[in-house]
Subunit: 355 residues, 2 copies
């Protein structure tokens, strides 16, 4: 493997910004490391990736990313354990999902070794940037966008694949209350909701702002046809616990197949927690909140890890979800982060050592 | 007005590319003029727009356009008549729609004078680029994208508004056959389909490629829930003529409120053509094609003007729409382009003189 890592050309930054960084007070995704991976698609193929100093991107104003939203991305994290070893979590799943997203957006798929070896080379060069503090990690953002030119509404002939990294703390600060959406939607049947396509996120900003103005932090999306089924949140899949059963909706072409979600399903099952993967109606959640059987609700995603939800709004009513002892959320969060950060055994083989 | 036009700062290009351009053989949207309008949103407000030499844009890799598809655009055309006077077509409608799109995408709305005066100043500086040839025009692309930084999935704090122009010939070359879509969708109820949001276009590329591979030029989108209603095409609204009635679907939050569409409705009505604005089912179109009452089908949009459709595919069957004499498409196209290019009276007040 090492030979392949070394196959990646490295152009080192002349200076480092790391001394300006307060690693004890990291926010999310604002401070970027010294390097990035860069790889261009042109002349019909992906060119060799390179690690280069983190630097601005220069594009023609007619580059298709500015006009037609042709872009996809991924979100991953790297962790450093007590021995200084660097770990990723199921990175091949991110790679595969990136290509699934690319295909739906008519972006050429990436070779696996460009992604994996490029990522590993970058993490080696920027290894000092990987936080060791509890609750912090290096957030990794692989993304691809259309750099090819022209106003014709058709796929570009050139693309850029970049991996940039940001040492980050937690995604949410404070409690998370959600609004169950009755009007706006995130995705269509037969649309791009299952892809991590840029446009899926911008479309959520306005409805989310309306929810924030009403005192919520996030929107829970429902299906666009009836608004009767709970789908997912902005960048998290959703779990509810009714009595002792943990329930999450099935994935579909409207919903992202989250890596945290599927890991939680497996982890919970292995711990003897009853898990159901089935459609969740808004009315059963409201009913359960009313009769006290709704014990927990939480979001699950790479950025937010597991985020307990303290209440939800629906049809102008607010429902509290009181914090409980022995919550599944804290139990599962501890188990999954212990695996991620090499503090426990990894019976599932999810952890991936970067060497 | 002139004083305001002159309020726009102009920085002229040192050289011109115009002598390299073959105005008799223009394609669509590939050759850009010498200048562009540029206007930044920062510190909470839109800064004064400037006309500057057409030049590359430099952005941080964490600029939100690369990650979250936060962008909107417009498409307009400028025409030069025999006297050299420059005309736009209903430009205020484009301005208003841009702000409608921006609002849905959580992008700050633009002041009208920045848009209109900026556009007029740009057209003045690049006036020599406006083609006079029949069938050609200056395609104008106003667009706004998120230039603000950070990986948090929330609206950016900085944006760029740019207008770039490309002397262009026709959008389609050759006949247009369409595929009525049964699986994929363009937009969701409660989504962003009515906005000219970048992400709406990238999502169409893959299904369109599948259609192109089968020998069609465009997809006709249907509703994402039942796929039983005809909605619109990639960058055109759709009209069908059954017997002598011209029918187009109503706009909705899934469909772009096209300026060409609404102009055609008004124009046709004023010429005594019976027009119906109502939902169109795929089955009635198939039925009409079978029994010979489907006389015409055409797309309508700024880029494509009026594009007759020569046939459609649905459920693995192909249906021809034979060319007819006295087609509404050619009649309406002639009338609308005569108005646009100042060859006829403009009883509707649609034409807008640029001075
Ligand atoms: C829309 C959406 N849903 C769910 C998730 C969670 O997926 P994962 O656990 O793979 O990070 C994300 C974020 O990645 C997302 O963007
Ligand atoms: C999706 C879509 N529908 C319809 C149209 C036609 O609208 P207009 O006539 O305003 O150009 C366009 C292009 O502008 C479009 O992008």
């Amino acid at each position: 493997m090492d030979a392949l890592i070394n196959d990646i050309e490295i152009i080192k930054a002349k200076t480092t910004k790391i001394n300006d960084v307060d690693f004890d007070n990291l926010t999310f995704g604002k401070i970027l490391t010294d390097h990035m991976l860069e790889c261009d698609f042109k002349d019909g193929k992906w060119q060799a990736p390179k690690v280069v100093p983190y630097q601005p991107i220069t594009l023609d104003p007619s580059a298709k990313i500015f006009h037609y939203g042709q872009s996809v991305f991924e979100g991953m994290k790297a962790y450093k354990d007590a021995d200084g070893t660097v770990w990723l979590f199921r990175p091949l799943d991110n790679f595969k999902r990136l290509n699934i997203s690319s295909k739906r957006l008519a972006i050429p798929e990436l070779p696996e070794d460009y992604f994996m070896n490029g990522l590993k080379a970058l993490l080696k060069v920027d290894s000092d940037w990987i936080p060791r503090n509890e609750g912090s990690s290096l957030y990794i953002r692989p993304f691809i966008f259309a750099s090819g030119k022209g106003f014709h509404a058709s796929p570009a002939d050139e693309y850029k694949f970049i991996i940039a990294c940001a040492p980050s703390g937690s995604y949410f600060s404070g409690e998370v209350k959600v609004l169950i959406e009755e009007k706006y939607s995130r995705s269509a049947n037969g649309g791009v909701g299952f892809a991590k396509a840029g446009g899926n996120y911008a479309g959520q900003f306005y409805p989310t702002q309306l929810a924030v103005d009403k005192g919520y932090q996030q929107v829970i999306w429902t299906d666009d046809n009836t608004h009767e089924y709970i789908e997912e949140a902005g960048a998290m899949n959703i779990f509810v616990r009714i009595n002792d059963t943990l329930i999450t909706g099935p994935t579909s072409d409207r919903i992202l197949d989250g890596i945290t979600r599927k890991s939680i399903i497996e982890l919970a099952q292995s711990k003897g927690i009853p898990v159901e993967v089935r459609k969740i109606t808004v009315s059963e959640v409201v009913e359960a909140a009313k009769n006290g059987s709704l014990k927990e609700m939480f979001g699950a995603g790479t950025a937010a890890v597991i985020s307990p939800i303290s209440g939800f709004g629906y049809k102008n009513e607010d429902y509290d979800i009181p914090e409980m002892e022995d919550a599944y959320a804290s139990f599962l969060k501890k188990h999954i982060t212990d695996i991620q950060t090499n503090k426990s055994e990894d019976p599932f083989g999810w952890r991936y050592k970067v060497e």
